[in-house]
Symmetry: C2
Subunit: 304 residues, 2 copies
């Protein structure tokens, strides 16, 4: 870890209220930057740029600090309320049904990088307004790897801005629905080609319980999911996947095809742990040994 590159994440820190077949939780730690920073902290130093209100529980921040996450870029708005999301999952744990979204101070999020973050070489742009993602890119000196997440909302509502971001992205992590929506192609391999033509030389298409596909200039790599038998809460699985993937790249210090493949396996393993508990419970209790063990077992599921 001492040789690992630092990773900067820009995204949300939120309070999630969750209903899943496994139970309920009220205002627990959530948000893309929370999942990403805790996940990536197993591999590399992590810097966060996000915003919360002064109602945000100190106990939640303590969890991030315990993972050595650098919070100097976390803006705390005086008198502001933190972003809240309430959602429900059905028995098949498919897409969450959003019951309530309170953007609160996240609505006016204006990401500002502390000066010491501007030199950071690895950037994960969590799912926020593409105009804000562009603002972040404008504050970085010369990143080596820009990784991006987005969602249907921006693909449909802010396509122009998103395309401007994409032209500057190296690694785009998206799901099947997003790939089809963005490209207009039904066939997923044609969709991948079309998305890569928008800028990112490497894309990873997430397929939920079916795993993920890596499209790299050197070839295609298809990674199965870890067989999770008892899903508790899939919230944050996508951001945790990204955290393992980019954390692995930060630790290894390169992005060749072989390393990218291992990184996708690591992301898959991290995401599987995230689903095994509510909120970040399982991630916060995780050890590097558990990650290494499951990564080895994962590989045995597709070794001939």
């Amino acid at each position: 870890m001492s040789n690992a590159q630092t990773v900067l994440v820009v995204g949300s820190v939120a309070l999630d209220s969750l209903e899943t077949p496994a139970g309920q939780r009220h205002e627990c730690l959530g948000g893309s930057a929370s999942y990403f920073s805790v996940g990536a902290s197993f591999f590399a130093p992590v810097q966060v740029v996000a915003v919360v209100g002064d109602d945000f529980p100190e106990a939640h921040l303590a969890h991030l600090r315990a993972r050595d996450v650098n919070l100097r870029g976390l803006e705390v708005v005086k008198g502001g309320r933190t972003f809240r999301w309430r959602g429900r999952y059905g028995s098949n744990f498919g897409d969450a049904q959003t019951l309530e979204t309170q953007l609160n101070c996240f609505e006016h999020f204006d990401p500002k990088l502390p000066p010491e973050f501007r030199q950071t070489k690895l950037l994960f742009l969590g799912n926020i307004d593409p105009d804000l993602q562009l603002k972040v890119l404008g504050q970085l000196d010369s990143p080596h790897l820009v990784a991006l997440d987005t969602m249907n909302f921006w693909i449909q509502g802010k396509r122009e801005a998103l395309l401007r971001v994409l032209s500057r992205v190296d690694l785009f992590i998206l799901n099947e629905t997003e790939a089809r929506l963005l490209s207009g192609e039904t066939n997923i391999y044609k969709a991948a080609d079309a998305v890569r033509a928008m800028g990112p030389s490497t894309i990873v298409i997430k397929r939920g319980e079916y795993g993920a596909m890596l499209f790299h200039e050197e070839g295609l790599f298809v990674c199965p999911a870890w067989p999770v038998r008892d899903v508790v809460d899939p919230t944050g699985a996508g951001d945790t996947f990204a955290s393992g993937l980019i954390g692995h790249l930060a630790r290894e210090g390169n992005q060749d095809f072989a390393t990218m493949k291992r990184a996708v396996v690591t992301g898959t393993v991290l995401a599987s742990f995230a689903c095994e508990g509510f909120s970040l419970d399982r991630l916060l209790a995780l050890t590097s040994g558990e990650i290494a063990r499951r990564s080895g077992e994962m590989a045995s599921h597709f070794a001939l």
Copy 2:
């Protein structure tokens, strides 16, 4: 091939009329036994037990004979009409919409094995009434490997008979929906355990464009699909998958985990070819070299 074990398939030989986004075909060669026997013929001698009417075109039989398929178990009913199926696929090539089914002489199919088929050691029971599948089992002396296909219709309508068959099956090939329906489990890994507890020591769960999973007593193997960019007609893909899988086992002469994994890859490759043309067009034009090449490229998609 000279050392390969012989494979017996019992199933349907039919006339399919197809509508897909790639075009239409009228009364072309179809049926589980047709797809299976042509696919398996690349690996092993194949015997067919099926029934057609005397309206069945000689040109279709010539295709099977050209692949050295043993048709002595193909009953031709004098004055009978052949099983006909008419179906349509939408733009995403998901499940076919059945427009018309004429069972015709297939309705009274009473599979009778020619005496020289009774010693055959590898059996594929295509998707027919489980009572008929039991009848076939009763006519075999001592099969080494009994492989089975079925469908929702029998799972729901003939569960008792199907469970009797399953208790005598070694290898069960089914899709995700069937696994969930048969087991009552939503989680696919729990569903697999439940299905294996019904008899088959090995099961393969097909997941369409997401590939297939092998559940074997020695472990789990997850195989991605071949990236087909231009699907023409997915009819028969499941039977062709089974043909490559069981054909591979027949050629190798054993069923250990390593061989089973390679067999699933071979099945996946065969199925991908089947989808690239209408009816059996692509399979009938296929060469062993093409199969070997694609199998090698397949493996590169999940090699670390």
